[in-house]
């Protein structure tokens, strides 16, 4: 039985990932946190399934205790959890001792590195490189097509030049700035549109406009309005922001209303709702949106640089190569853009994947005891009985509806 004032004893297995907890450990955890009289065996499959979907019981625990404190009886809690989408699954799915699981996954990793899949992939790439080289020989017009060997040669000629890295860094910074501004702006606007209908109605036609205006029109007008140095940032921004907004907005709309009601009943704050209920809902949308828009930001950014030729920039180099009929250099710079684009995409997607992971465990690890104490004391301090009563009424309505 958990202490209502927040001072709880921590069980040793709680430091491990919940997916590795055995049924016995999970039962013990629930007994410690669920309200008195709860049917732990009945809840086990539900909780197990919730864990399978990325939920963390350590983060759910305070919610469970909150619900108990507000008077929801165990049957109703179970009904709520099932209503929230967690369906019972065989309880032994996750039952695997961690000691054994580790080496298996490590061995698996080693195996995938040398897997026939990778070999096949490499062969396919080699095949296409050979086709490219062959095409170079067949076309036999170096003003039109440059093969991989000549491109690599041109690339090494560029890399040894003193300002190569400066040029790359300048273009990278411009495009990354445009993308990150659009990423942040798109999220903020989507949140505002989600919360205030008027904002959505006002924003929607502008987003539609941004999506359909040809890139070249942006370039021509922006060149006059903002000049060539800022053009790249503006263009990447304008191309990316509707993508981020649309995906983020769809993600927010996809949030599970039942989960929100439950959170509301349990007295979860707005920020926590955002982190633990909205975030898992919109993250898949945001991730897929970013995959597309990262590539777009580079495509549009380099296009802007070729038109605006700010110095130093990759676009200016490409323009010069085109001007002086230096096709090998044009191909080499194209390769550089592709590499930088992939590096940026991988780095950003890795950060995003970090943000998409369940946070419960991380949150719990950082001074859980003190946070629980804070949680409990805040609850005791700031919840007058009238609010508690209204929550109770709401919970009753909710459950009877079910």
């Amino acid at each position: 039985m958990a202490e209502q004032d927040g001072v709880t004893c921590r069980m040793p297995f709680e430091d491990r990932e919940p997916s590795s907890w055995s049924d016995a450990e999970l039962r013990a955890f629930m007994r410690a946190n669920a309200p008195e009289g709860a049917d732990v065996d009945a809840m086990l499959p539900v909780v197990r399934s919730a864990i399978g979907q990325g939920a963390d019981p350590r983060a759910l625990a305070p919610m469970m205790r909150g619900a108990a404190a507000s008077g929801a009886d165990p049957e109703r809690m179970l009904a709520m959890m099932q209503m929230g989408g967690a369906s019972p699954q065989p309880a032994n799915v996750g039952e695997r001792p961690q000691g054994k699981a580790e080496p298996v996954s490590a061995a698996g990793r080693v195996r995938t590195w040398f897997s026939p899949e990778r070999g096949k992939k490499a062969l396919v790439i080699l095949m296409w490189l050979a086709v490219w080289e062959l095409a170079d020989h067949l076309v036999d017009n170096r003003l039109v097509l440059t093969g991989p060997v000549r491109t690599l040669q041109a690339l090494t000629e560029q890399i040894v030049k003193a300002d190569f890295w400066l040029i790359c860094a300048a273009s990278f910074c411009r495009i990354a700035a445009g993308f990150i501004l659009a990423f942040a702006g798109g999220i903020l606007i989507a949140v505002a549109a989600h919360r205030v209908r008027l904002v959505r109605d006002l924003i929607e036609p502008i987003v539609g406009l941004l999506k359909t205006v040809p890139m070249v029109s942006f370039i021509i007008m922006l060149l006059i309005w903002v000049g060539n140095q800022a053009l790249t940032i503006y263009l990447s921004f304008l191309i990316v922001i509707p993508l981020v907004y649309t995906n983020m907005y769809a993600g927010l709309e996809a949030v599970d209303l039942k989960m929100l009601e439950m959170a509301c009943m349990c007295g979860m704050g707005r920020w926590r709702q955002f982190l633990y209920i909205y975030r898992p809902a919109f993250m898949p949308f945001l991730v897929s949106g970013c995959k597309v828009s990262l590539g777009m930001s580079w495509k549009s950014g380099i296009m802007a640089e070729v038109f605006g030729t700010p110095a130093p920039s990759i676009g200016k180099q490409m323009f010069a190569a085109r001007t002086f009929l230096d096709t090998p250099s044009l191909f080499a710079w194209t390769a550089v853009v592709m590499l930088l684009s992939v590096v940026f995409e991988k780095a950003f997607m890795a950060l995003l994947a970090r943000a998409a992971r369940p946070w419960g465990s991380a949150w719990a690890r950082v001074g859980r005891t003190s946070r629980r104490a804070a949680w409990a004391s805040r609850r005791n301090r700031s919840r007058p009985s009238s609010r508690r009563a209204s929550r109770r009424a709401m919970a009753t309505t909710m459950c009877s509806a079910a």
Binding site: D140, N141, R142, L143, V144, T146, R150, I220, M221, L223, I224, W225, V226, G227, N228, F307, G308, T309, K316, F319, A320, R322, T323, F324, L325, D326, T327, P328
Partner: protein, 392 residues
């Protein structure tokens, strides 16, 4: 910083005109952007001439004198605007050899690529690209410059009544279109040649001519250096605009000019074709020269067929611009002096702009003495005689 779209202060007719002409001018300017005009410094030119200057010789024509089909790739705009008469004659089958002209918009990269592909025998190109092709070791086609089509097309224009000559630019800002192309090097050469180098004039490059036009409208006493036909276009859009500075004339008055010219475009032939069918190239040069002379004498008539022929997108702008695009047909030793000096100047500013090195003397085609004055039929029927003998 510029604020609004460039069309706002323009009255309705001009706006229509603007939209109509914008395409044409963009095309023409793009074509010339690279070409720009640059003059040879006297000293760099003499360095280059260590590869001895070629001379016209009394010799017979090489290759076959039977009529052949010549495929010509043209860039729209100034390089083709003097060829109207030739185009009309070729269409009506009035030439000894048959000439098939194809316009490729302003896409000189495509023209160069198709020359290398073997699709064209003769092409017009911005004046630095012949040397670029000559120096390019990756390509299979050898090229020779056969004539110069346009000299300078750059003008200093301003709304400031106090700017009347080049020296007045000292300490001022001038907006320029054509960074990285020959306009940049031409302007730098002219400023240096008149003692205005070392940043005495603040040159600010804009990425499109439209930005410059916008500044001319918005900024008081604004100075710009633009190529034709944008100068003609600016005239229709900016009230009180004057063109006090002719960059081409300033080039010629430089002490270091030494017979070099601000060359904007030139004509290049596939060397292999030239050796096999020299007569066809000679006829081309005769016809092109006659056409330029005719155009300059009949500006109204010549400009009225530009759209029909495909050499420009608007007859009215063509009429306004034609007297100022320095139409010429320089060949032989005159071409060598003008072009090699120009290439030397560009080379001094940025070797990459001509492909790294000054081209050797074999780059400049020297027709046999008298060939451009002799009758084509006569040369064809007497291949054993030198053209000089036929002329007498």
């Amino acid at each position: 910083m510029c604020t609004s779209a460039n069309v706002s202060p323009v009255p309705a007719p001009s706006r229509r005109q603007f939209i109509k002409f914008a395409g044409a001018c963009a095309a023409a300017a793009a074509g010339m952007g690279l070409a720009g005009c640059s003059n040879g410094h006297g000293d760099s030119a003499s360095q280059a001439s260590s590869k001895a200057a070629p001379t016209v010789e009394d010799r017979t024509l090489t290759g076959d004198t039977d009529p052949t089909t010549v495929r010509v790739g043209l860039i729209m705009g100034p390089p083709s605007m003097g060829l109207s008469r030739f185009l009309i004659d070729a269409q009506s089958g009035d030439t000894y050899n048959s000439y098939e002209f194809e316009f490729c918009g302003v896409d000189y990269q495509a023209v160069a690529a198709r020359l290398n592909q073997g699709d064209f025998d003769i092409v017009t190109l911005p004046s630095n690209l012949g040397a670029v092709l000559y120096n390019n070791e990756d390509i299979k086609t050898k090229v020779q410059a056969i004539s110069v089509n346009n000299l300078g097309v750059l003008y200093g224009i301003t709304t400031d009544p106090n700017v009347n000559e080049l020296a007045d630019l000292e300490g001022r800002t001038a907006y320029v279109y054509g960074e990285g192309g020959t306009p940049e090097y031409t302007i730098a050469t002219v400023l240096e040649g008149h003692g205005l180098g070392d940043g005495k004039v603040n040159i600010v490059f804009k990425s499109t001519p439209f930005e410059v036009l916008n500044l001319l409208q918005d900024e008081e006493n604004c100075i710009a250096i633009l190529p034709q036909p944008f100068v003609a276009l600016a005239d229709t859009m900016v009230t009180g605009l004057r063109r006090p500075i002719d960059i081409t004339a300033e080039w010629e008055s430089m002490e270091s000019a030494n017979g070099s010219e601000a060359v904007t475009t030139h004509t290049v032939a596939n060397r292999e074709f030239l050796e096999e069918h020299e007569l066809a190239v000679v006829e081309y040069l005769q016809r092109a020269g006659a056409s330029v002379d005719w155009t300059l004498k009949n500006l109204d008539e010549a400009s009225s067929c530009q759209v029909e022929l495909g050499s420009f997108l608007n007859d009215d702008v063509a009429r306004q611009a034609m007297p100022y695009i320095s139409l010429v047909n320089l060949t032989g030793e005159v071409m060598y002096d003008a072009l090699s000096g120009f290439l030397a100047a560009i080379h001094a500013q940025n070797p990459d702009s001509i492909g790294g090195d000054m081209p050797g003397s074999d780059f400049y085609y020297m027709p046999p003495a008298g060939a451009l004055d002799a009758d084509v039929q006569a040369m064809a029927s007497a291949p054993d005689k030198t053209p000089a003998e036929l002329v007498g």
